[in-house]
Symmetry: C2
Subunit: 152 residues, 2 copies
Amino acid sequence: MADIIHRVGINAPVGKVFEALSTVKGLSGWWTVNTSGSSKEGDSIFFQFLSAEGTEIGSMVMTVAALVADQKVVWKCTSGPEEWIGTDLTFNLHREGDCTIVIFGHRNWKEPVEFMAHCSMKWAIFMLSLKALVETGTGRPSPHDIKIDNWN
Amino acid sequence: MADIIHRVGINAPVGKVFEALSTVKGLSGWWTVNTSGSSKEGDSIFFQFLSAEGTEIGSMVMTVAALVADQKVVWKCTSGPEEWIGTDLTFNLHREGDCTIVIFGHRNWKEPVEFMAHCSMKWAIFMLSLKALVETGTGRPSPHDIKIDNWN
């Protein structure tokens, strides 16, 4: 098994960060504008990624496995790219000084494949987008995300 | 053991990317301006990170374990943060279409600690800096790097 983990600090109250991670509106502001479904525990959220021209480049379904206000969000990927199915996504929050720290994990990849290395870079890009959304009100969700290689 | 891996695509000839990874001048253009030593195989490169105010926030020594022109650069960390000592850093290059693909790895961490999650984000920031340096002539080496949390 292989894991992606990232740490980012956001200059905002923990409640604002939790809101961006636990509501469809929040998620559509930093990950992909095409977010739908229900973000309650046990429910599923649907994420779709489109190219600038509007063709689908990927989609996935996340089942909300745990939701603890101002502390953590846990998803299980139940549909999407083959390598993602069965992986766990976690956002753990804690405070340090004036900062809300997010420890992000995308864990339990079967193999550390090149696609995982791509996703690791993209998750870093989206963590910057999350930080920008919460701190400034404007994120860079797909399709406005920074492109990092020939895959996306 | 735990690994960080990132994939980035650079719109430039492989030789230009290799130069940025295998010379002191190149490295000082995207990782830290305070780079010195010798980047030949078997030699050591010294990296120092300063705050905007000029105080040291970190330093490390990398021994160049392998250097294959236009293909790969491998370092062993021989001095630096405790968690880094003995870890391996690799930059593997290949071409895809008009793009030079870099597969970066910082492998063999003893534990996937919070500091590793911080470094994973920072490496992504520096991969963007490498891409910018090679594509535009201007990177964002430390101390001009994007800050991502309360640690750096």
